[in-house]
């Protein structure tokens, strides 16, 4: 189980922004700017049980990526708690990395290595034995339909192929939690379907999956739970049905707009 409580992350603003902010009227400042600090994530809490898929929603700049980077241990939270099966992720980031599979929105592959070499490299860095690595690779390559380009250098792959390879890299070490930041952005329909099917395959498993997206149809199709954040604060945290029920139309789009724009329930 993945639990996130009162997560907060603040960054120091650069001197140029601080100077510019001093000249601005208070109303024009971002609500998250506080003197020399920018509170990218102010208060985010949610939980995701094994086998559940949680969709993290929010407009651009809402703090989704910062939030997911904290889950992955790439960034250290300023305050708040993250736990996997009750174990503190923040206190032991190095040990917990073996248990987390994270796909960043800007992730890439080593261009001069083949897909197989890329996956092997990360598998080895996660301490996998050669035998286990081989078994897992065969399994993941099959699921993500990678075998046809497994021995091609990453530089020669299409965007869809690269993303499938990235997903394989994310899950090769059999993580206990999977965190995906906009995994289908920029992909064609077929590639996106392969990835969505792959995420769906974790439903009912022992692994909780958290993924951020701007595509509401993906949330409709995959998610058990939804978390919507805006300005670094949780605006909604609950099950998909509860989310949809916030608007009479029952449409995700309407609820999203309603929550982000702070409108009354229609």
């Amino acid at each position: 189980m993945l639990e996130v409580k009162n997560l907060m992350k603040r960054f120091r603003l650069d001197n140029k922004t601080i100077k510019e902010n001093k000249k601005k009227a208070k109303e024009l400042l971002d609500v998250r700017e506080e003197g020399r600090w920018f509170n990218a994530v102010q208060d985010v809490s949610f939980s995701c049980d094994p086998g559940q898929v949680l969709g993290l929603l929010g407009p651009n700049g809402a703090g989704k990526t910062t939030c997911l980077r904290m889950l992955s241990t790439a960034l250290q939270p300023t305050s708040g708690q993250i736990a996997i099966n009750g174990e503190d992720v923040v206190a032991e980031p190095l040990a917990m990395r073996k248990r987390i599979g994270f796909l960043s929105a800007t992730t890439g592959l080593y261009h001069r290595l083949t897909v197989r070499e890329n996956i092997q490299y990360f598998g080895r860095l996660h301490g996998m034995s050669e035998e286990n690595l081989e078994i897992e690779m065969n399994k993941v390559f099959e699921l993500l339909d990678i075998n046809s380009f497994a021995d091609k250098k990453a530089v020669s792959l299409s965007t869809g192929m690269k993303q499938r390879a990235n997903i394989a890299r994310t899950v090769i070490h059999q993580p206990e939690v999977i965190v995906l930041d906009e995994p289908t952005t920029g992909l064609d329909v077929i590639s996106a379907k392969t990835i969505l099917d792959f995420i769906e395959s974790y439903k009912g498993s022992k692994v909780p999956v958290v993924f951020s997206t701007h595509h509401l149809h993906e949330v409709e199709k995959l998610c058990d739970k939804v978390v919507l954040i805006n300005d670094g604060v949780t605006k909604f945290n609950g099950f998909l049905d509860e989310f949809k029920a916030l608007n009479k139309s029952g449409k995700l789009y309407d609820v999203f707009i309603q929550l982000v724009e702070n409108k009354e329930v229609a």
């Binding site: 992955s72 790439a74 994270f102 261009h111 070499e117």
Partner: protein, 410 residues
């Protein structure tokens, strides 16, 4: 850590740019500089010695013998000029190469046994002008010698006495430096200059690839999220850059050594045939450099390669993109060149003051090794201090790598 190290090396060996900067360029740079420039220089000198020279004489009637003597040289082509022509202009326009101006009073001065002042006009800014001057002087040598002997005779002096009258005290220069020390002093500064710059360029591209290159490809974040301690990642990357830098320097030195020992003798005969005795002496001086000397040079370049690896990796990881990294590295190269230039300045010798200036000290130490006059105690101190600097920079690089502001700088 070794997994990261070997993977990075594998990737670099698949990159043409790295192979060019790390292997091809360092291997070729020494032979190109030494053989290329020496051969080219010899060819230019040989051409200057053999070429036909157009010249004019102003006032040839005032000392006919001299004019006749010049005409005897078949390579000198006499060009008649009018009284109105400006000889200097003709030289600068390239119509003639030199002009001899014989003053009116020459004949009377010669008759009185006085010294005649004959002017030779030529363009001294040309790189081969000294050869031109020497050719004219040599042509007139016989005339001057005959005149001198006649005067000795008229004065009732033997040739020996005449010489003694000209130079009552003769100071003979005798250098205590052997050939190697002599050439080491003149050329030894160039070797570390090239080697250190080769080390820098050998580290630069891999540093960009392993730092900001990972950022741009989007692989850095993924790498940082593996359960490998951050220091091990930094150290593995540092080691790869250090390896490429060191390989570059090593290959340069090896190609230099090969050139001096294996191809050197063949070059000597070829170049000496062009009348260049300095080359012969240089090659013979180079042949006295032992494997121990070469090992000492390599040893001194180890911490230098480590300094470059740490510095360049820090800069690379800080940069937002490839272009920004290059913008930071260009001034860094200038900072490296400055202490190297210091070591080339005349009068700058390895003492305890210069031994405390980073990079300059290593450059001077390599020069001393080249000359065969290195103080091993001082060498050890320079090695230790440079290693400490390299260690401190590596620690700084590691600290840099821990900072979120650096890693996720946008």
């Amino acid at each position: 850590m070794l997994k990261v190290y070997f993977k990075e090396l594998l990737e670099l060996t698949r990159d043409k740019k790295t192979l060019i900067f790390t292997i091809l360029l360092p291997t070729l740079i020494m032979p190109v500089i030494m053989f290329g420039f020496i051969s080219l220089g010899t060819r230019i000198v040989k051409k200057s010695v053999d070429e036909d020279l157009k010249y004019s004489i102003i006032g040839s009637g005032h000392y006919a013998q001299l004019a006749e003597e010049l005409k005897q040289n078949k390579k000198f082509k006499f060009v008649e000029i009018n009284a109105n022509d400006d000889a200097e202009e003709l030289i600068n326009e390239g119509k003639i190469r030199f002009a001899i101006v014989i003053p009116e009073d020459t004949k009377s001065k010669m008759a009185q046994g006085l010294s005649a002042e004959i002017e030779m006009l030529y363009n001294d800014s040309a790189s081969t002008s000294s050869i031109l001057y020497r050719r004219v002087k040599n042509t007139l040598e016989a005339l001057v010698k005959a005149e001198t002997q006649t005067r000795y005779k008229n004065l009732g002096l033997t040739e020996e006495q005449g010489i003694a009258v000209n130079k009552p005290i003769k100071i003979i220069r005798k250098s205590t430096a052997d050939e190697r020390e002599n050439f080491g002093e003149k050329l030894g500064g160039l070797l570390p200059y090239i080697l250190i710059l080769v080390g820098f360029s050998g580290a630069m591209y891999p540093a960009i690839d392993l730092g900001v290159g990972e950022k741009e490809r989007g692989t850095l974040e993924t790498l940082l999220l593996t359960p490998v301690p951050r220091f091990q990642l930094v150290f593995a990357k540092f080691l790869v850059i250090f390896t490429t830098s060191f390989i570059s320097v090593f290959l340069s030195l090896i190609s230099f050594g090969l050139m001096a020992t294996v191809f050197g003798p063949a070059m000597i005969s070829g170049l000496a045939a062009g009348g260049n005795n300095d080359i012969e002496q240089l090659m013979s001086a180079l042949s006295t450099i032992t494997m121990f000397d070469v090992s000492l040079m390599i040893l001194m370049l180890v911490p230098i390669a480590a300094i470059f690896a740490s510095m360049l990796l820090s800069v690379s990881i800080y940069a937002r993109n490839f272009k920004e990294a290059q913008n930071y590295m260009s001034p860094l190269a200038m900072i490296i060149i400055l202490p190297l230039i210091l070591s080339l300045l005349p009068g700058v010798k390895l003492d305890w003051v210069w031994a405390s200036v980073p990079i300059t000290n290593v450059s001077l130490a390599i020069k001393e090794i080249f000359k065969g006059t290195m103080d091993l105690g001082m060498l050890a101190v320079i090695f230790a201090s440079t290693t400490i600097i390299a260690g401190a920079l590596l620690a700084l690089c590691n600290w840099w790598f821990q900072r979120e502001q650096v890693l996720f700088r946008t």
